[in-house]
Symmetry: C2
Subunit: 174 residues, 2 copies
Protein backbone atom coordinates (compact mmCIF):
# COMPACT_ATOMS: atom_id res chain seq x y z
CA UNK A 1 0.00 0.00 0.00
CA UNK A 2 1.46 3.39 -0.99
CA UNK A 3 1.99 5.35 2.24
CA UNK A 4 1.59 8.71 0.56
CA UNK A 5 -1.42 8.28 -1.70
CA UNK A 6 -3.05 11.56 -2.71
CA UNK A 7 -6.02 11.25 -0.36
CA UNK A 8 -7.37 14.69 -1.26
CA UNK A 9 -8.19 13.28 -4.69
CA UNK A 10 -10.81 11.12 -2.92
CA UNK A 11 -12.47 14.02 -1.08
CA UNK A 12 -15.42 15.54 -2.93
CA UNK A 13 -16.39 19.19 -2.55
CA UNK A 14 -20.11 19.81 -2.20
CA UNK A 15 -21.12 23.48 -2.28
CA UNK A 16 -23.96 24.79 -0.10
CA UNK A 17 -24.31 21.79 2.25
CA UNK A 18 -25.78 21.66 4.82
CA UNK A 19 -26.70 25.26 4.00
CA UNK A 20 -25.91 28.07 1.55
CA UNK A 21 -22.31 29.28 1.67
CA UNK A 22 -20.86 26.14 3.28
CA UNK A 23 -18.45 24.01 1.24
CA UNK A 24 -18.80 20.45 2.54
CA UNK A 25 -15.79 18.10 2.30
CA UNK A 26 -17.38 14.74 1.52
CA UNK A 27 -15.15 11.81 2.46
CA UNK A 28 -17.48 9.04 1.26
CA UNK A 29 -15.46 8.47 -1.97
CA UNK A 30 -12.35 8.00 0.20
CA UNK A 31 -14.16 5.55 2.50
CA UNK A 32 -15.49 3.53 -0.44
CA UNK A 33 -12.00 2.97 -1.88
CA UNK A 34 -10.28 0.10 -0.06
CA UNK A 35 -6.76 1.41 -0.61
CA UNK A 36 -7.58 5.01 0.29
CA UNK A 37 -9.45 3.89 3.43
CA UNK A 38 -6.55 1.77 4.58
CA UNK A 39 -4.06 4.56 3.86
CA UNK A 40 -6.23 7.07 5.77
CA UNK A 41 -6.25 4.77 8.82
CA UNK A 42 -2.46 4.39 8.65
CA UNK A 43 -1.97 8.13 8.45
CA UNK A 44 -4.36 8.82 11.35
CA UNK A 45 -2.34 6.37 13.46
CA UNK A 46 1.19 7.24 12.30
CA UNK A 47 2.13 9.95 14.85
CA UNK A 48 0.85 7.83 17.76
CA UNK A 49 2.47 4.48 16.91
CA UNK A 50 4.37 3.15 19.92
CA UNK A 51 3.05 5.88 22.24
CA UNK A 52 1.17 3.66 24.70
CA UNK A 53 -2.48 4.32 23.91
CA UNK A 54 -4.91 2.29 26.07
CA UNK A 55 -8.11 3.32 24.30
CA UNK A 56 -9.24 5.33 21.31
CA UNK A 57 -12.34 7.47 21.92
CA UNK A 58 -14.68 9.00 19.34
CA UNK A 59 -17.99 10.86 19.25
CA UNK A 60 -20.94 9.45 17.30
CA UNK A 61 -21.78 9.15 14.51
CA UNK A 62 -18.98 10.11 12.14
CA UNK A 63 -16.24 9.68 14.72
CA UNK A 64 -17.21 6.03 14.96
CA UNK A 65 -16.22 5.48 11.33
CA UNK A 66 -12.49 5.57 12.09
CA UNK A 67 -12.65 4.75 15.82
CA UNK A 68 -12.31 0.99 16.01
CA UNK A 69 -10.07 0.75 12.95
CA UNK A 70 -7.63 3.20 14.55
CA UNK A 71 -7.99 1.35 17.87
CA UNK A 72 -7.11 -1.95 16.28
CA UNK A 73 -4.11 -0.50 14.46
CA UNK A 74 -2.78 0.73 17.82
CA UNK A 75 -3.71 -2.47 19.69
CA UNK A 76 -6.01 -0.35 21.86
CA UNK A 77 -9.64 -0.59 22.96
CA UNK A 78 -12.43 1.66 21.73
CA UNK A 79 -14.63 3.97 23.81
CA UNK A 80 -17.80 5.36 22.22
CA UNK A 81 -18.88 8.85 23.28
CA UNK A 82 -22.55 9.36 22.57
CA UNK A 83 -25.31 11.95 22.61
CA UNK A 84 -27.62 12.15 25.60
CA UNK A 85 -29.61 9.06 26.64
CA UNK A 86 -28.03 6.51 24.29
CA UNK A 87 -25.67 4.73 26.71
CA UNK A 88 -27.24 2.13 29.02
CA UNK A 89 -24.87 2.15 32.03
CA UNK A 90 -23.95 4.98 34.44
CA UNK A 91 -22.66 7.97 32.51
CA UNK A 92 -20.65 11.14 32.96
CA UNK A 93 -21.72 14.05 30.76
CA UNK A 94 -20.58 17.44 29.48
CA UNK A 95 -22.79 20.08 27.86
CA UNK A 96 -21.54 22.45 25.22
CA UNK A 97 -22.81 25.30 23.07
CA UNK A 98 -23.77 24.85 19.46
CA UNK A 99 -24.66 27.53 16.92
CA UNK A 100 -28.27 27.10 18.03
CA UNK A 101 -28.90 25.82 21.55
CA UNK A 102 -26.84 23.26 23.45
CA UNK A 103 -25.91 19.62 23.16
CA UNK A 104 -24.56 16.99 25.56
CA UNK A 105 -21.94 14.25 25.15
CA UNK A 106 -21.88 11.22 27.44
CA UNK A 107 -19.55 8.35 28.23
CA UNK A 108 -19.82 5.36 30.57
CA UNK A 109 -18.22 6.10 33.95
CA UNK A 110 -16.20 2.87 33.78
CA UNK A 111 -14.98 3.42 30.22
CA UNK A 112 -11.94 5.40 31.33
CA UNK A 113 -10.17 5.14 34.70
CA UNK A 114 -7.71 7.57 36.27
CA UNK A 115 -4.52 7.37 34.22
CA UNK A 116 -6.06 5.66 31.18
CA UNK A 117 -4.17 6.92 28.10
CA UNK A 118 -6.63 8.07 25.46
CA UNK A 119 -6.32 9.01 21.80
CA UNK A 120 -9.27 11.03 20.45
CA UNK A 121 -10.22 10.53 16.81
CA UNK A 122 -12.65 12.22 14.42
CA UNK A 123 -13.07 12.63 10.70
CA UNK A 124 -13.26 16.42 10.79
CA UNK A 125 -11.94 19.32 12.86
CA UNK A 126 -14.18 22.34 12.24
CA UNK A 127 -14.88 24.70 15.18
CA UNK A 128 -13.66 22.08 17.66
CA UNK A 129 -16.63 22.56 20.02
CA UNK A 130 -17.71 18.92 20.17
CA UNK A 131 -14.11 17.69 20.48
CA UNK A 132 -13.38 20.14 23.32
CA UNK A 133 -16.43 18.82 25.21
CA UNK A 134 -15.36 15.22 24.54
CA UNK A 135 -11.86 15.93 25.89
CA UNK A 136 -13.34 17.53 29.00
CA UNK A 137 -15.48 14.41 29.47
CA UNK A 138 -12.46 12.08 29.35
CA UNK A 139 -10.55 14.30 31.77
CA UNK A 140 -13.50 14.41 34.19
CA UNK A 141 -13.02 10.64 34.57
CA UNK A 142 -9.29 11.08 35.12
CA UNK A 143 -8.17 9.97 31.67
CA UNK A 144 -4.98 11.37 30.14
CA UNK A 145 -5.36 12.61 26.59
CA UNK A 146 -2.27 11.57 24.64
CA UNK A 147 -3.40 13.19 21.44
CA UNK A 148 -6.10 14.08 18.93
CA UNK A 149 -6.11 12.82 15.36
CA UNK A 150 -8.37 14.06 12.55
CA UNK A 151 -8.65 13.10 8.91
CA UNK A 152 -9.48 16.68 7.88
CA UNK A 153 -8.77 20.04 9.48
CA UNK A 154 -10.63 23.14 8.24
CA UNK A 155 -8.12 25.76 9.35
CA UNK A 156 -10.45 28.69 8.63
CA UNK A 157 -12.62 27.78 11.62
CA UNK A 158 -9.80 27.94 14.20
CA UNK A 159 -10.70 24.70 15.96
CA UNK A 160 -7.01 24.07 16.69
CA UNK A 161 -6.91 27.17 18.91
CA UNK A 162 -9.66 25.75 21.15
CA UNK A 163 -7.64 22.52 21.51
CA UNK A 164 -4.13 23.95 21.83
CA UNK A 165 -3.37 22.09 25.06
CA UNK A 166 -3.25 18.85 23.11
CA UNK A 167 -0.96 17.10 20.66
CA UNK A 168 -3.18 17.59 17.61
CA UNK A 169 -2.62 15.89 14.28
CA UNK A 170 -4.56 16.25 11.01
CA UNK A 171 -3.97 14.19 7.87
CA UNK A 172 -5.47 16.61 5.35
CA UNK A 173 -5.44 20.40 5.78
CA UNK A 174 -7.88 22.75 4.03
CA UNK B 1 -4.45 -13.37 19.92
CA UNK B 2 -6.67 -16.27 21.04
CA UNK B 3 -9.18 -16.88 18.25
CA UNK B 4 -11.81 -18.26 20.59
CA UNK B 5 -11.77 -15.86 23.53
CA UNK B 6 -14.97 -15.94 25.58
CA UNK B 7 -16.42 -12.73 24.19
CA UNK B 8 -19.69 -13.12 26.10
CA UNK B 9 -17.72 -12.47 29.28
CA UNK B 10 -17.24 -8.90 27.98
CA UNK B 11 -20.95 -8.27 27.31
CA UNK B 12 -22.77 -6.64 30.21
CA UNK B 13 -26.48 -7.23 30.84
CA UNK B 14 -28.43 -4.10 31.75
CA UNK B 15 -32.03 -4.74 32.82
CA UNK B 16 -34.82 -2.34 31.88
CA UNK B 17 -32.98 -0.33 29.23
CA UNK B 18 -34.14 1.54 27.21
CA UNK B 19 -37.43 0.68 28.95
CA UNK B 20 -38.91 -1.66 31.56
CA UNK B 21 -38.77 -5.33 30.61
CA UNK B 22 -35.95 -4.99 28.07
CA UNK B 23 -32.60 -6.66 28.84
CA UNK B 24 -29.95 -4.61 27.06
CA UNK B 25 -26.74 -6.35 25.93
CA UNK B 26 -24.07 -3.70 26.46
CA UNK B 27 -20.96 -4.29 24.36
CA UNK B 28 -18.95 -1.30 25.63
CA UNK B 29 -16.78 -3.48 27.95
CA UNK B 30 -15.92 -5.62 24.92
CA UNK B 31 -15.06 -2.57 22.82
CA UNK B 32 -12.86 -1.12 25.57
CA UNK B 33 -10.70 -4.26 25.78
CA UNK B 34 -8.09 -4.26 23.01
CA UNK B 35 -7.86 -8.02 22.75
CA UNK B 36 -11.63 -8.61 22.83
CA UNK B 37 -12.20 -5.89 20.23
CA UNK B 38 -9.63 -7.36 17.90
CA UNK B 39 -11.04 -10.86 18.38
CA UNK B 40 -14.58 -9.60 17.71
CA UNK B 41 -13.46 -8.04 14.43
CA UNK B 42 -11.73 -11.29 13.40
CA UNK B 43 -14.83 -13.31 14.16
CA UNK B 44 -17.14 -10.91 12.28
CA UNK B 45 -14.89 -11.28 9.25
CA UNK B 46 -14.08 -15.00 9.45
CA UNK B 47 -16.91 -16.47 7.30
CA UNK B 48 -16.34 -13.90 4.56
CA UNK B 49 -12.56 -14.10 4.22
CA UNK B 50 -11.57 -14.66 0.59
CA UNK B 51 -15.17 -14.18 -0.64
CA UNK B 52 -14.57 -11.10 -2.84
CA UNK B 53 -16.19 -8.28 -0.90
CA UNK B 54 -15.88 -4.86 -2.59
CA UNK B 55 -17.40 -2.79 0.21
CA UNK B 56 -18.69 -3.20 3.73
CA UNK B 57 -21.86 -1.21 4.48
CA UNK B 58 -23.28 -0.26 7.88
CA UNK B 59 -26.06 1.90 9.29
CA UNK B 60 -25.29 4.72 11.73
CA UNK B 61 -24.48 5.07 14.53
CA UNK B 62 -23.63 1.71 16.12
CA UNK B 63 -23.07 -0.06 12.81
CA UNK B 64 -20.23 2.37 12.14
CA UNK B 65 -18.31 1.00 15.15
CA UNK B 66 -17.32 -2.18 13.35
CA UNK B 67 -17.76 -0.98 9.76
CA UNK B 68 -14.35 0.31 8.75
CA UNK B 69 -12.43 -2.18 10.91
CA UNK B 70 -14.24 -5.05 9.16
CA UNK B 71 -13.70 -3.32 5.81
CA UNK B 72 -9.98 -3.04 6.40
CA UNK B 73 -9.68 -6.66 7.49
CA UNK B 74 -11.32 -7.69 4.20
CA UNK B 75 -9.34 -5.18 2.10
CA UNK B 76 -12.68 -3.60 1.15
CA UNK B 77 -14.06 -0.06 1.16
CA UNK B 78 -16.68 1.24 3.57
CA UNK B 79 -20.12 2.65 2.70
CA UNK B 80 -21.99 4.59 5.39
CA UNK B 81 -25.78 4.31 5.41
CA UNK B 82 -27.32 7.23 7.26
CA UNK B 83 -30.61 8.58 8.54
CA UNK B 84 -32.47 11.15 6.44
CA UNK B 85 -30.73 14.39 5.48
CA UNK B 86 -27.21 13.61 6.70
CA UNK B 87 -25.52 12.71 3.41
CA UNK B 88 -24.43 15.64 1.21
CA UNK B 89 -24.51 14.10 -2.30
CA UNK B 90 -27.41 12.59 -4.29
CA UNK B 91 -29.04 9.83 -2.28
CA UNK B 92 -31.29 6.81 -2.68
CA UNK B 93 -33.60 6.13 0.25
CA UNK B 94 -35.84 3.45 1.76
CA UNK B 95 -38.49 4.00 4.45
CA UNK B 96 -39.37 1.38 7.01
CA UNK B 97 -41.73 0.92 9.94
CA UNK B 98 -40.61 1.27 13.54
CA UNK B 99 -42.55 0.47 16.68
CA UNK B 100 -43.74 4.09 16.63
CA UNK B 101 -43.87 5.83 13.26
CA UNK B 102 -41.43 5.43 10.38
CA UNK B 103 -37.78 6.05 9.68
CA UNK B 104 -35.68 6.41 6.53
CA UNK B 105 -32.21 5.15 5.61
CA UNK B 106 -30.18 6.79 2.85
CA UNK B 107 -27.03 6.07 0.87
CA UNK B 108 -25.16 8.00 -1.81
CA UNK B 109 -26.26 6.94 -5.28
CA UNK B 110 -22.62 6.45 -6.35
CA UNK B 111 -21.63 4.43 -3.28
CA UNK B 112 -22.65 1.13 -4.83
CA UNK B 113 -22.79 0.34 -8.56
CA UNK B 114 -24.57 -2.55 -10.29
CA UNK B 115 -22.66 -5.70 -9.36
CA UNK B 116 -20.78 -4.24 -6.38
CA UNK B 117 -20.33 -7.04 -3.82
CA UNK B 118 -21.44 -5.85 -0.40
CA UNK B 119 -21.09 -7.23 3.12
CA UNK B 120 -23.52 -5.70 5.64
CA UNK B 121 -22.32 -5.35 9.24
CA UNK B 122 -23.98 -4.35 12.51
CA UNK B 123 -23.39 -4.88 16.20
CA UNK B 124 -26.86 -6.26 16.91
CA UNK B 125 -29.57 -8.24 15.13
CA UNK B 126 -32.86 -7.62 16.96
CA UNK B 127 -36.07 -7.41 14.88
CA UNK B 128 -34.05 -6.92 11.68
CA UNK B 129 -36.20 -4.02 10.46
CA UNK B 130 -33.39 -1.53 9.93
CA UNK B 131 -31.13 -4.15 8.33
CA UNK B 132 -33.90 -5.26 5.94
CA UNK B 133 -34.34 -1.64 4.83
CA UNK B 134 -30.58 -1.23 4.44
CA UNK B 135 -30.38 -4.36 2.26
CA UNK B 136 -33.25 -3.10 0.10
CA UNK B 137 -31.37 0.18 -0.31
CA UNK B 138 -28.20 -1.55 -1.52
CA UNK B 139 -30.22 -3.71 -3.93
CA UNK B 140 -32.06 -0.65 -5.30
CA UNK B 141 -28.65 0.56 -6.53
CA UNK B 142 -27.89 -2.84 -8.08
CA UNK B 143 -25.50 -4.05 -5.38
CA UNK B 144 -25.18 -7.76 -4.62
CA UNK B 145 -25.37 -8.63 -0.94
CA UNK B 146 -22.78 -11.31 -0.23
CA UNK B 147 -23.67 -11.62 3.42
CA UNK B 148 -24.67 -10.08 6.73
CA UNK B 149 -22.49 -10.23 9.82
CA UNK B 150 -23.56 -9.29 13.35
CA UNK B 151 -21.73 -9.35 16.65
CA UNK B 152 -24.90 -10.31 18.56
CA UNK B 153 -28.12 -12.03 17.50
CA UNK B 154 -31.14 -11.90 19.81
CA UNK B 155 -32.93 -14.99 18.54
CA UNK B 156 -36.14 -14.28 20.48
CA UNK B 157 -36.95 -11.39 18.14
CA UNK B 158 -36.88 -13.46 14.93
CA UNK B 159 -34.83 -10.98 12.92
CA UNK B 160 -33.21 -13.84 11.01
CA UNK B 161 -36.58 -14.78 9.50
CA UNK B 162 -36.94 -11.33 7.94
CA UNK B 163 -33.46 -11.71 6.40
CA UNK B 164 -33.61 -15.37 5.35
CA UNK B 165 -32.65 -14.63 1.73
CA UNK B 166 -29.15 -13.79 2.89
CA UNK B 167 -26.06 -15.56 4.17
CA UNK B 168 -26.37 -14.39 7.78
CA UNK B 169 -23.68 -14.83 10.41
CA UNK B 170 -23.71 -13.88 14.10
CA UNK B 171 -20.74 -14.17 16.47
CA UNK B 172 -22.70 -14.34 19.74
CA UNK B 173 -26.17 -15.84 20.06
CA UNK B 174 -28.60 -14.98 22.88
Amino acid sequence: MPAKMDLKAFVRDIPDFPKAGILFRDITPLLADAEALSCAIDRLVEPFKGKEIDVVAAVEARGFIFGSAVARALEAGFVPIRKKGKLPFQTESVGYGLEYGRDVVEVHTDAVRPGTKVLMVDDLLATGGTMAAACQLIEKLGGTIRGLTFLIELTGLNGRKKLNRYDLHAVLIY
